[in-house]
Symmetry: D2
Subunit: 409 residues, 4 copies
């Protein structure tokens, strides 16, 4: 009988099976730091718009490992040299690239860990795990931080056409049911190559790249920046701010131990040490949602009202405009609600507010997508003349919104 190597497998509605071919990768998955991602939703509160969007960062990370294996296979077939050690580095780097995300990450970064990015925390986690796993994540860390001398390894993990985006666009499109956001990640990977140490896409893949950028833009406006999702996220930011304020005033709020820690402590890059990392590692969607459910019954009118809005999905009204909201219009709404609700200015600001949304599908100045032409030349995808609309994609689109209670008199 053949030696019984265990082939670790995860079911995936998208790829069928995800095979984990590497014992180190498997041990990382089993670690509580990574298991925590099972309780962090990939799309935050978007399930209030798309009821299927309950997929997790855990599953996304596994999907990335799957696509990374495919990428390595394709590149090696084309003669690109990738050592066993570099392959393991790639797999670990992509597995852990999002491990620093907190629950409802975008809201968190504006309220709880202000000024500490999830990339920064991911790096902290990887360093901690590197110590635990006796330095076996050193290559992964150099790739993750963009410092590996083979630049294409870094680009596979983070660039405008990285494995991360290839999975999340496909996955978010799948679970939301927004079919237009689907990307043909298999085709794109098949078109990858390496020239002068940098990742390129072969010319015949040009329409697929364009399609990928369009899909990304589509997902931004249709899903990530969907107006209902935007208002829910703003409410969550407000709730956490209000809770932090009340706690600072000495009000006792019921919440999980780790959430209370972050609501009563000022965390920044400087003081983000191992101890704080450990508390952060206990924080997930459950902490936030259970707090919302308790705070529905808070004595503070603002906190209680805002929590009910999310829990029962009775959100504020939101209007999206191409022009900035006029100060006059805003003031009218503000005064109207202030009077109706009998609040002071500070409190009213939780119910009537405005802001703006921005998206740029492709940023050629940040880091571009290079096309390998049949004649061997390398050009930026946006300069190929018959794909004119990429210039359009490179422009920033800005929209403006105002939120206020629906039932305002």
């Amino acid at each position: 009988m053949s030696k019984s190597n265990k082939l670790k497998i995860f079911n995936d509605p998208i790829y069928g099976f995800i095979r984990i071919p590497n014992p180190l990768v498997f041990d990382l998955i089993a670690h509580p730091y990574f298991q925590r991602l099972r309780r962090i939703s990939q799309m935050g509160l978007s399930y209030l718009v798309y009821p299927g969007a309950h997929h997790t960062r855990f599953h996304h990370a596994l999907g990335c490992v799957h696509l990374m294996q495919k990428s390595v296979q394709v590149l090696r077939f084309k003669g690109v040299v990738i050592s066993e050690e570099e392959e393991q580095g790639l797999l670990c780097a992509i597995l852990l690239h999002d491990i620093g995300h907190g629950p409802f990450s975008h809201a968190m970064e504006h309220s709880i860990v202000e000024g500490v990015s999830h990339e920064y925390i991911s790096r902290k986690f990887m360093q901690e795990l590197n110590t635990l796993f006796n330095g076996s994540l050193t290559v992964a860390l150099s790739i993750f931080t963009g410092n590996h001398p083979k630049k294409f390894l870094n680009q596979l993990v983070s660039s405008q056409l990285d494995v991360d985006r290839l999975d999340y666009l496909k996955r978010d499109s799948f679970y939301t049911g927004v079919a237009e956001g689907n990307t043909n990640s298999d085709r794109l990977i098949t078109m990858l190559n390496v020239v002068d140490g940098e990742l390129v896409v072969e010319e015949k893949g040009i329409y697929s790249v364009e399609k990928f950028l369009m899909a990304r833009r589509f997902m931004y406006w249709q899903a990530y920046l969907h107006k209902t999702g935007v208002v829910a996220e703003q409410l969550l930011i407000s709730i956490l701010k209000r809770a932090r304020f009340l706690i600072s005033e000495g009000v006792a709020l019921k919440a999980s131990t780790s959430l209370l820690y972050f609501l009563s402590t000022a965390v920044d890059k400087e003081n983000f040490d191992s101890k704080i990392l450990d508390v952060f590692a206990k924080l997930d969607d459950v902490d936030i949602l259970s707090a919302l459910k308790e705070w529905e019954y808070s004595n503070d009118f603002v906190l209680s009202e805002l929590c009910k809005m999310i829990v029962n999905r009775r959100l504020l009204h939101i209007k999206i405009k191409k022009e900035p909201i006029s100060q006059k219009r805003f003031n009218e709404k503000f005064q109207e609600i202030k009077k109706d609700y009998r609040l002071n200015d500070d409190e009213t600001g939780y119910f009537v507010f405005k802001g703006r949304l921005e998206n740029k599908a492709y940023d050629r100045y940040e880091q571009n997508i290079n096309i390998l032409k049949k004649n061997g030349k390398i050009v930026d995808v946006a300069t190929l003349s018959d794909h004119l609309n990429l210039n359009a994609l490179s422009k920033t689109v800005t929209k403006y919104y105002i939120c206020y209670p629906k039932d305002a008199v």
Copy 2:
């Protein structure tokens, strides 16, 4: 311009779009009782086996409404009379058929609301909503309770081939990625008809019925009774029992207000009044998961260990056998762990236990699936002679299991 009737739509990765054609149905969906189902996972802890299985009872209920609309359309096309009022009754009954499920329902029914079935609680919710909506759920209630004089209406909501099963098998198969459990609900619905007031399947649908029963059996053994899911569920039952015990001993446990209520109150059918219903309506997955996360740090060794097992997915070992576990083998394990862990008998019982699993794919004695033959006769699907294996499907399959810590010395 045409009058702008709002067509309420939900995205669904499975059916594409679910259209909600009825204002009453829409208002029910918007009610907090129903919104709560967004926070109740359809498959409980199965996500520990199938990482995609985070779909909710909310989405399942919407999917059922979709299939019910299709069924009504097909039956009417075949000349079956269904009035507008009956159609609304069907849609409301199927929308609300699972509203009485608590979080991790199977575990709950063995620990928190012992002896009060989810069907019983669903009925309570429907009665409450009927009052709220001025009696407009009266027809739905008569269908849900199986009392409508048109028997096929009741059967569409609850029978061996009801719309509920048609959706959940397809949905659970989809989200777990267990492709073998997929059912062709569209084909089955197309084959439905009504004879003498009862639901039948036309003869040419016989292979599809058989396939449906096979898929159901497949999902039982591969998903619902998957050994890892079984052990996780047993652990959850144990955790809730232990917590109830500790509370009865006067130990203070941190948990949500509603969970604490149920852990310190004996609830049964008799005392399940409106007030209890209201507390129940606040209970969802978040309450359970946040408790597990807090109790990891409990001083009680048993409670703390069990919680860690689920939170970090380091579960007990489970062995499945076709024969009952011998008492001798069980005692050996029990004593071994008792000694290792230095526990008393009661405590040891949380770590070493046995049980059994049962499944019958088709129960012709309970309520059968009738086939309408081309010659107009009606026969039970299991008696059609060249589909012999249905007799096999009608037999109960029993399996036995024992659980104990993996790292037992």
Copy 3:
């Protein structure tokens, strides 16, 4: 028992089931004129590029009927009045909209029925069938010819966002496996409405419209104008021209009776009478392919070589350029092959030739796609300011090609 209305059903890998709800539609499908479409491939010789692309015009026409039913349902729901008679007209018009296609239609229109468009022949077929079915296609004819007073009916059958395109893009994308060409026809249909008698798309469907136009462009360059498909089609045109020439010279060629008829007769709009229609109705892919297979063994070098190229898929080499092919370069190739193959100029022209390809994804001057804004205004999709790239889509993209034998010395 309910009255047993027969629900005619076709299986479809894309939509699951296509239900044919109308006896007239069913009778038209059963007619030999329509059955002939089973033997006419939707994508001609594209199967030489995409081996899955063997789907037929028969299946596409059924798919259109399916989408048309959905469209009628959505519009009626929104209060648009469509009578039973108009509905039947729509279904028949869309069923028969492509019935005038010959085998390998684009090649045919350049060689066999020069100057007689497939729309013209479709109309002829519909008139013939109208006589046969006692005038029951009169409404369908007025819709098909764009003469129905309710303009939106005409637009559902033929416009820049008609049901025809919604099906063929989805279907061609599906069978080729070119996932990027997939369109969310279900979503687009859900967004349709009628204002002032014209078809519009509601504003929230704008990204889907844009995505649809992108997908269409994608399919043009990736599938319909794929270089291998282009060269195969040009070869087929050359073969038919050569055969016609040989026949005019008195050479006996083996071929089906109907193909021989068209190769030895000059057909134009003027003389296209019932008799010719009847011969045309016998012509399908089989006639062309069987001729190619026989002509492989012709004594004429040109005919034989060209036929072998298609039958054995050993095609000419093709180069695609953004600039016109220089006359100098062309002449060099031409002389080289002429000498190698020992041919005269006429004959050489069958092996070395050039041409150009054009595509415009959206033509707002021909007939535009109108968007219904939330404020009730109607605007052309291309003018909405943050969808800038639609302007790019409106530009014509031209490419140039040259073909010659691969093994040229």
Copy 4:
């Protein structure tokens, strides 16, 4: 720049992309013998039932190569030794396993190449190609003929759970739209292993094996033996018999050169030499279909009527029974038609005939599917006690049919 190895790729609607990693495999695909499979439909006349079923043996063979690559990868991962040479042998053997199929193969084997199986002809083709490719198919031939000393290699190509079946069930299910026939080939392949030189399935794959057998049975009754397909196939057999008879009587029939050869020659295993193989290599669906289309206009009433039936899909009526058709009933129909149509007995036999259909989903006596239990033991899948219905699957199901004209008075 990396060396530009060409990665040959085929689009596949099912697997996304099929990569051809081996130059020999690619050269075999390019050979006219293999290209011919582009013109041989996998499911014969089934497109008259399932309009999507136009997929070809060409695509199926490529799909098999894809699954074989996966199988080799999984087995190697589990420590099974497969040399480069053996891998190439597997890929070539599976690529060519069906190359000996003629058009509408089942009909052909009863009319044109009576007594010469397609396996026999496949072997002939492989031997011819082996000579052409300088012996590089020697290993493939030993695998294809079941003579390779490593038995599991033979089993991967031909057994009750071979790669052939894994692809064709999935593919036929996909293109017909009969979703119930879909099989999870990916999961099954993942469960493969080798013990004592033989292919086994690991125990946890048992439900998938069972599901696979059920799906196969489903496809037999729902697709391969669908009554409309059966009657069409019988008509085709009759047509070819009639044509052969007419030719033997000296009647001139228009048909392709190769078809005429086979209709006027008695071919058997003994005289099937290289010359006949070469004529056979020119025969495909086009030859048969073009003959049918010409013979519609034959002077022979029988031939002409039968051809019209297929071309216009106006088939004979067929009744399927579980009991043999009584001779009395048959005689009545026979005499009725004989009189109506004014035919002699021989001629009448073309319009009224009977026969039987058989299927056994699993034949454990022929060659069984072995399960590797967790305790290391090997058992036949049918003996595992809680999968009782496999015994049912092992029984032969027989049905009987009678065909006659629909409009019989």
